[in-house]
Amino acid sequence: MDSIKDRGYSHSNVLVSTDWVAENLANPNVRIIESNEDQLLYKTGHIPGAVEVDWVNDLNDQLVRDYLQQSQFEELASNLGISKDTTLVFYGDKNNWWAAYALWVFRLFGHTNSKIMDGGRLKWEKEGRELTREVPSYKPSSYEAQSRDDSSYRAFRDDVLKHLGTGGQLVDVRSPEEFSGERLHMPDYPNEGALRGGHIPGAKSIPWARAINPENGTFKTADELRAIYEDEKGLKPNEEVIAYCRIGERSSHTWFVLHYLLGYDKVRNYDGSWTEWGNSVGVPIEK
């Protein structure tokens, strides 16, 4: 199904097509932002006019394991030359995994006018569209962000424990091997940076990439997504959901799917994820 509007999403306006991006390259009210796993990828070529937001260096505090504080986010936004009214379009590699992560962090600071380019970098490349190595420069802006709101879309370990105690819905979006606690074939390296393998008791295993059409990186239709999350896995849209993975990156992709595409109101991302849970003393684990 080519038209995003026809796919039945609850908030179809959070996705834009590659065509839309191509038509808005020169739109001063639009800022295109690339966010990748591989920090070199942007430099090898990107959508003309696109800036880069690197998840390691730009979104995370460099000392404490946490996201930016308000002033740091304002500095980032200023460097990107954006205002609160700027339409941000995130895209990237790995089926927009990091793009969704960046959008989620921007959402914590109240930037609601954010979208994802459906299909991400893969689709743009497959369509033979222009890439450039020229890094754009935008005049720094003045951006006053709200203080970071962790209450709506972010869950901490204690929130998860409380949620667990009430039988709340949990979605483990990692691979089946990570979910089962099977050891990786990496000698001398602990499994996913955690001392224990397995998953949070009661979590449903729904690998994040099931939401994607692998041939072009686009999101599946709402009906197809409901068939996975609701018919097959039994998620109830009106009840709270907490998604997690290893460090909260893949689960931000699932957060995007559940919250925006399927319209779930109460979805949070547990970014401490398995690197916190699997290293915590005394928390319950299931294999």
Partner: protein, 148 residues
């Protein structure tokens, strides 16, 4: 004293001389741009999983052959078209180690990844790249064992 075998130390010294992260990135891309896929005389798709680097998200494969003078030659494939770091490291390993014999390569350390990419590389990517280094060393060990 060189901590890394072969011409690899020269390449590492080149990276060490760069303080600026952007310039380091440019140099890494220069290496990645030189990437050449494994020749079909060595391996054809679909590649056997025995040559797949464990834990590498870029789906890197590595082969090792012996040159006439006894030196080793490493060949690489990176199946993820977005695996720029893997391609870059592949070229560095090839340029730095190919032509050297197995004994010179056995001391190769995964520390190389930090020397090249810096310390703030993500855990997932770091593990994949270290897996490439470990496989190169393992293939050199196999070649050495075959000589005995």
């Amino acid at each position: 004293m060189s901590r890394f075998p072969g011409s690899l130390q020269t390449i590492i010294d080149e990276f060490k001389a760069i303080d600026d992260a952007n310039m380091r990135g440019e140099l890494l891309i220069e290496f990645a741009d030189k990437f050449i896929d494994v020749p079909e005389t060595i391996a054809k798709r679909p590649f056997p999983k025995t040559h797949l680097v464990p834990g590498c998200e870029s789906e890197a494969y590595i082969w090792c052959t012996k040159l006439d003078d006894g030196g080793l030659k490493f060949h690489f494939a990176v199946e993820n078209p977005h695996g720029v770091s893997a391609k870059s490291l592949a070229v560095i390993l090839d340029e730095g180690l190919s032509g050297h014999n197995a004994d010179e390569i056995l001391g190769l350390s995964e520390e190389l990844v930090y020397e090249i990419f810096g310390r703030n590389i993500s855990m997932g990517k770091g593990q994949g790249l270290m897996g490439m280094v470990a496989m190169v060393r393992g293939l050199a060990m196999q070649q050495r064992a075959a000589q005995l």
